[in-house]
């Protein structure tokens, strides 16, 4: 017999402790379910394929201060030298390092401006025909750039490229019905024919909203400060990275080689703030759950010490030990369920606010349900031990002065 009605009435008549606990459970529910969702979202992101063989790729940045060489010619010499190094698979200049948090992005439209058309913000990489091989990304459809399609210069709109390779995600976003290959799109109002479609190719902002709708544009705008991406045999990368500065300076020494980093390390650096935040969030969730569990434990202990005589009286009136344990479990369950219901609504509202304010995905119902089940089980564990202790209160307490 669960005695729900009298227990409910008793809670109703002496509600301060129960209401405080209910609010704590509701708050925990709202925060933990959203936090759990965010943590899961982030863990999924960390496990997500970037499209790049990160352990095979490294990047370096070149700051040229010498004025006696053509930057574009020097870039070609550098690329040729690097590609000839033992263990190097390919290398390419680029204006943006993938997964680094720094790059270029612009709107890609289906029609030239100012005509109205679908417009998508697209992070892009300027690379030559070695770009795909350097990225280690395979074409799903179409072809790679031809050498003659690579445009070297600085007037993109006036004398820029005519072709583009897009990720599948961008192709799908621009042409949901398919058939993107061969279509013309406009980047900085310049028409570009889609000649190839690749699979996953993450942007320089892998945790951003437009992390997968990316493009490679065959354009080389060589500047004093330039990045080079190098793909190597995985086992050779460390050795090549260790010597690349000297190799570069041997070719031309009026420059500085900096930021020689593996792509995996680059992503790690990019994620470090988020990872720290996630760890803090996990700590917060654990603390919150512990505080709630302690709250439930403490309130039960308090109720037991406050009701010692009452428990003794119940035992004297014929309550078995199991009935006393059941009493506290039912009491906790009622408060807990009410808290979880309110907390569930609060979680949805909080999730909605966060979705609108921080552009994160909407809270999935299974996280609310999972958190509710977890908190409920935790509350049972927090109650069961004090309740068992309460059950051992002697019925003779009923006749003693305490």
């Amino acid at each position: 017999m669960l005695d729900i009605k009298p227990i409910f009435n008793a809670i109703r008549r002496s509600k301060i402790g129960a209401v405080l606990l209910l609010l704590q459970i509701a708050l925990t529910m709202a925060i933990v379910s959203n936090a759990a969702f965010m943590i899961n979202d982030h863990v999924s992101y960390l496990r997500e394929d970037t499209g790049f063989p990160e352990k095979e790729i490294f990047s370096l940045s070149v700051m040229t201060f010498g004025k006696d060489r053509s930057l574009s010619q020097q870039a070609e010499l550098d690329e040729t030298m690097i590609r000839s190094l033992p263990g190097v698979i390919d290398a390419s200049l680029t204006q943006a390092i993938p997964l680094s948090g720094g790059g270029s992005s612009s709107s890609v439209r289906l029609k030239p401006s100012p005509e109205k058309s679908k417009s998508i913000s697209v992070p892009y990489y300027y690379m030559d025909e070695h770009g795909l091989n350097t990225f280690g990304i395979k074409l799903l459809e179409g072809r790679n750039f031809r050498p003659e399609e690579i445009i070297v210069g600085n007037d993109f709109t006036g004398n820029g490229p005519n072709t583009v390779i897009v990720s599948q995600a961008l192709a799908d976003a621009l042409f949901p019905d398919g058939g993107a290959l061969g279509e013309t799109v406009y980047l900085k109002n310049r028409p570009l024919e889609i000649i190839g479609i690749v699979g996953t190719m993450k942007s320089p902002w892998p945790n951003g909203m437009r992390d997968k709708t990316t493009a490679i544009v065959p354009f080389m705008d060589v500047q004093n400060y330039q990045h080079i991406l190098v793909r190597t045999d995985k086992t050779e990368r460390a050795n090549i990275m260790a010597n690349i500065e000297q190799n570069m300076l041997d070719v031309y020494d009026k420059r500085v080689i900096i930021n020689v980093d593996g792509l995996d390390k680059t992503k790690e650096n990019y994620d470090s703030t988020d990872v720290l935040m996630m760890r803090m969030l996990i700590v917060l969730v654990v603390i919150l759950l512990l505080v709630t569990a302690l709250g439930i434990f403490g309130l039960t202990q308090f109720n037991i010490s406050k009701r010692t005589k009452q428990i003794g009286t119940r035992r004297a009136l014929g309550a078995r030990k199991s009935a006393i344990v059941r009493y506290f479990l039912v009491e906790n369950t009622m408060v807990c369920i009410a808290g979880l219901l309110i907390g569930g609504i609060a979680a949805v509202v909080l999730g909605d606010v966060m979705m609108k304010s921080y552009s994160i995905s909407s809270l999935e119902p299974e996280f609310i349900l999972g958190t509710a089940v977890f908190i409920f089980v935790m509350s049972i564990v927090a109650v069961i031990f004090p309740a068992m202790r309460a059950a051992n209160i002697s019925p003779s307490i009923a006749t003693r002065s305490i």
Binding site: N9, A10, R13, T313, A316, L317, R320, A323, P395
Partner: protein
């Protein structure tokens, strides 16, 4: 109804042993109304607790309504308390968060009586103690005498064969004490066996049979005849020493 043979109770704390009851023997017949008196610390409450199955005894034999209490499990003891014994406590021991109806209902729920039957019994018992109209009130809304009447209703609701009262009038003024005593006498007339612990000599005098507990032993086993006759030497010494 109740038979205790050489029942002893020893409380052990660290190295100190306290003999609360020593070779206590008593027989209570069905339908009797017994008043138990004795000085503070004499073992009255321990006797009542053991008689009411609220605590175990250390040695001896105790039979209640034909059941040997010695070998019962905790659950069997709880069930026996619930089915055969009604308690009236000095401090009433009503549950403050439950109204009168719910308080009287507590032992019936533990017995698993159906809601319909519970309702009939609760209404009958509250009617019997004159509080049917206040069933929805909380205990703190009643006077001490009324609260004790609710406690009596709760004790009666389970239709116990054996009623134990621990100083039932101890917290009441003389008028209310008399009313409660009259109620107990009426209950006894209806067939319930009552054992009442009291300090009140006047109330004890109204019970057909008095026993006195002194120093954990039965001091007098005779019908009350105006003044207690202490027969045990140890008890006599204790009474004289305490100036009672």
């Amino acid at each position: 109804m109740l038979t205790m043979n050489n029942v002893s109770k020893i409380y052990q704390t660290n190295s100190v042993q306290t003999h609360a009851l020593r070779d206590f023997s008593l027989t209570v017949n069905e339908g009797e109304f017994i008043a138990v008196t004795g000085p503070s610390g004499s073992g009255k409450t321990t006797f009542l607790n053991i008689a009411g199955l609220l605590e175990p005894f250390t040695s001896g034999q105790y039979t209640l309504d034909g059941v040997d209490i010695g070998g019962l499990s905790d659950n069997e003891t709880a069930d026996l308390r619930n089915q055969k014994i009604g308690y009236i406590f000095q401090g009433f021991n009503l549950i403050p968060d439950l109204n009168l109806y719910e308080n009287v209902e507590v032992p019936l729920r533990y017995r698993g009586i159906a809601a319909k039957e519970r309702k009939i019994r609760i209404e009958q018992c509250l009617e019997q103690v004159g509080l049917a109209s206040r069933a929805k009130h909380l205990p703190q809304q009643l006077s001490g005498g009324q609260q004790q009447r609710v406690a009596i209703a709760r004790a009666l609701a389970g239709k116990p064969r054996f009623l134990l009262a621990d100083e039932p009038t101890g917290n009441l003024d003389s008028l209310m004490a008399r009313q409660v005593m009259e109620l107990l006498e009426e209950i006894n007339k209806n067939g319930a066996t009552i054992v009442m612990v009291t300090h009140d000599a006047e109330l004890a005098r109204r019970a057909p049979r008095n026993i006195q507990v002194v120093d954990g032993q039965l001091a007098d086993f005779t019908l009350y005849q105006g003044k207690p006759t202490v027969t045990a030497t140890r008890a006599e010494e204790a009474v004289v020493a305490s100036g009672v």
